[in-house]
């Protein structure tokens, strides 16, 4: 049985919106928090981890068999339900052009969200209540969890690591999107100490170059001169999330897998993380066979281990 209560409805809503591009979503409830995961065409995986600290009340009762609850559900109805209680224009602070006065007075008095999950086979219930007396109950039916190949597991060696402001990356990707090109190229150069994003389109080519300066890139490490290519349609899914975020960390491992980690700072300074993993189009390794298959075989351990490592990665950030 699982029960939780939180007032940070808006924050959770904006976090969940970041992964609203897949039909189904895997939910994992553990003692530490709730994790939502989506994947697309076996080359993109996104995860959201909502830490236990965001909840005022968090009761997780272990079953004898399970130390976690794993199931699949659909996110769209939940997002629609939460959007009733948040502003229509759900944008964060750094948008002078888009700022509009809050028209939604519903959440001014305080919203409380109660989550309840009885167990596998029971629906995933969310009840959102506004202090003035409006409440909405959203019951999401759950499906059995299918074990997916964890497509984009980061290898231990990282080739490139960049931390920058998410707004800038959003801006850059939005511009690159104009080209209607198929792929995005990320080029890093350790000698010139620059980080380049490039898109080649039919009529034009766009390139953004960021130097390794404190103002621009909070942190930049690379040990190679590589150009990585990713399918732009996958990157596009991440663009919307970038708009909501504050800081973003880009990491590329030796296989070329891109890991975009986005930090969303919400009310009261609490953070949630959104994590995107994208498989590259061209692999660095000679084997040009099934990319995903290869990655799956290369040192992927069981889910539990994955999860642990995943969590520690986040703590590092």
């Amino acid at each position: 049985m699982f029960q939780a209560e939180t007032v940070y409805v808006k924050h959770i809503h904006s976090t969940l919106k970041c992964v609203d591009f897949a039909k189904e979503c895997t939910v994992e409830i553990t003692n530490r928090g709730i994790r939502f995961g989506v994947d697309e065409s076996q080359s993109l995986q996104a995860h959201i981890f909502i830490d236990r600290g965001l909840f005022q009340k968090y009761i997780f009762e272990d079953d004898e068999e399970n130390s976690n609850y794993l199931f699949k559900t659909r996110l769209a109805p939940l997002l629609q339900c939460l959007s009733i209680y948040t502003d229509g224009k759900d944008k964060q602070i750094y948008n002078p052009w888009d700022q509009q006065p809050s028209t939604n007075t519903m959440h001014k008095r305080g919203v409380v969200c109660k989550i309840h999950f009885e167990g596998i086979g029971y629906p995933f219930e969310w009840e959102v209540e506004e202090m003035a007396g409006y409440s909405t109950i959203c019951e999401l039916s759950t499906l059995e969890y299918e074990e997916n190949i964890d497509v984009s597991r980061l290898a231990t060696t990282l080739n490139t690591k960049v931390i920058m402001r998410s707004g800038w990356l959003y801006d850059a990707l939005l511009e690159l999107d104009n080209n209607l090109s198929e792929s995005l190229m990320i080029e890093t150069s350790s000698q010139k100490s620059t980080f380049i994003l490039r898109c080649i389109g039919g009529m034009s080519t766009t390139e953004m170059e960021y130097p390794n300066e404190k103002n621009v890139l909070e942190s930049f490490e690379t040990n190679s001169e590589y150009t990585y290519t990713y399918r732009f349609s996958l990157i596009r899914q991440a663009i919307k999330a970038l708009q909501a975020g504050t800081k973003v960390s880009l990491r590329i491992d030796e296989n070329g897998t891109l890991n975009i980690q986005l930090m969303l700072v919400g009310q009261d300074g609490l953070c949630t993380f959104v994590d995107f993993r994208i498989a590259p189009l061209d692999l660095m390794i000679e084997d040009e066979g099934d990319d995903e298959g290869n990655l799956a075989e290369n040192g992927y351990t069981e889910d539990d281990n994955d999860q642990e490592d995943y969590n520690t990665e986040e703590e590092d950030d």
Partner: protein
């Protein structure tokens, strides 16, 4: 070949591209050792825009073309053509340094003092390069603050540019006005407006627009709208027009010219002779005339009668802020000519209630029309601010009406079918068939 633009010129450059894009999707570049000329010609060849940027507009101007490139015998010239949409998307959402400096918007984001918190990076200068050979590209390199470099490469093709021919000397009609005034007035016309008519009437210049009719299941509320805006002669810096000369041109291109002039902050001058002959709108900016723009627009051909009257019409001249006055002797001599025409055209166009003095802007359904075959009514501003009738005879200048009729008759869209229809004002109902 390399050109560098910076500071306020950046904004001007983006505005130039934006307004040229209103004319056509492709822009032609003509580069020689003294200047860079951007031209567009619309698909029906009825609108031509040209903006010439001299060397002084650029921080750096080096012209060393590939010899394979050169065309032109008089002086070596490079002629290319690019699509304008990619260029527009480049300039969109960019902050240029001059605007950033004056940006003290109190509603800006909470971290407003910290420039890095702004979503967009400030552009310091733009470097334009043209490469040839394997990759024919125009390269826009935006050097932004903090060393961020944004590079955009746009493909081009070599082309022959068409130049519009215009004989300024033969244009007897011209005026010059501050473009801001014109822009404010042009904004009164609806977005769907197709044509604009410019005519001088008794010390004022009337701009009349004609909106396309929206036919929507007999939805009579949506009827062709005509908006007339009149500008007092005093607002012009200089006016020299023949009374009775009316030109009609496409509003889209006119708007492009006016908006560009306004964003550059200059006054716009116009030269034209008669309807049917092209009209020139020109303006320039900078003490060295760094930016010189010319828009040549085709005008709708008028009827023969009408052309005669243009030469008989009163000549109205005014310059500076001196009070204008019609040249009275000429006026009275012209009046008889107008009267003659009046008699023959009294039945066309103007729907009266028998009382010419009380002619109004709109025809209301409450009126009982006396004229069965009244065609179209042309609402005009019949009184000025002091409620004195502008038209001395209480009737509109039928020359103008006739000219307008002819305009419409020739127009495929609004043509003969409109004549039969009674024009209802905006208040009329469908069942009051007049």
């Amino acid at each position: 070949m390399e050109f560098v633009v910076s500071n306020t010129n950046l904004r001007d450059l983006s505005r130039i591209f934006l307004n040229l894009s209103r004319i056509d999707d492709a822009v032609n570049w003509e580069i020689n050792k003294d200047q860079l000329i951007l031209t567009t010609l619309n698909s029906s060849r009825s609108g031509f825009g040209k903006v010439a940027l001299t060397k002084k507009f650029f921080d750096k101007f080096t012209f060393h073309p590939d010899t394979l490139f050169l065309t032109g015998f008089v002086s070596p010239t490079v002629r290319l053509s690019t699509q304008i949409k990619p260029i527009l998307s480049i300039f969109r959402n960019k902050i240029f340094e001059s605007t950033f400096l004056v940006n003290n918007n109190p509603n800006a984001n909470t971290g407003a003092t910290d420039s890095t918190s702004k979503k967009n990076v400030v552009v310091e200068n733009i470097q334009l390069q043209i490469t040839s050979g394997k990759e024919c590209r125009v390269i826009f390199k935006f050097n932004c603050k903090h060393g961020v470099i944004k590079t955009y490469k746009i493909a081009y093709e070599q082309t022959q540019t068409l130049q519009a021919v215009f004989d300024k000397a033969s244009c007897h009609n011209n005026w010059q006005i501050n473009s801001k005034i014109l822009k404010d007035l042009v904004e009164h016309f609806g977005q769907k407006t197709e044509e604009l008519t410019i005519q001088p009437v008794h010390g004022r210049v009337l701009l009349t627009s004609f909106t396309e009719e929206v036919v929507h299941n007999k939805d009579v509320l949506k009827q062709p709208t005509q908006t007339t805006v009149s500008i007092d002669g005093k607002e012009f810096e200089q006016v020299s027009l023949n009374e009775g000369v009316i030109i009609t041109l496409s509003l889209k291109e006119f708007r492009a010219a006016v908006l560009l002039a306004e964003s550059l902050g200059t006054s716009i001058a116009s030269y034209y002779s008669v309807s049917g002959k092209p009209a020139l709108f020109t303006f320039n900016k900078g003490k060295f005339m760094e930016v010189e723009a010319q828009f040549i627009l085709a005008t709708v051909m008028g009827s023969d009668d009408y052309d005669e009257s243009s030469s008989l019409g009163a000549r109205w001249k005014q310059s500076g802020t001196a009070n204008s006055s019609l040249f009275v002797p000429e006026n009275t001599s012209a009046a008889p000519a107008l009267n003659e025409d009046e008699a023959t055209s009294a039945s066309i166009g103007w729907q009266t209630n028998g009382d010419a003095e009380t002619s109004r802007m709109f025809h209301s359904a409450l009126d009982i029309p006396t004229n069965e075959e009244s065609a179209r009514k042309r609402p005009k501003q019949t009184t000025d601010e002091d409620n004195r009738p502008l038209f001395l005879e209480g009737m509109p200048d039928d020359n103008e009406l006739m000219a307008f009729n002819n305009d419409v008759a020739d127009d495929a869209e609004f043509g003969p079918t409109q004549h039969e229809q009674t024009f209802h004002g905006i208040f009329s109902q469908d069942d009051t068939e007049n």
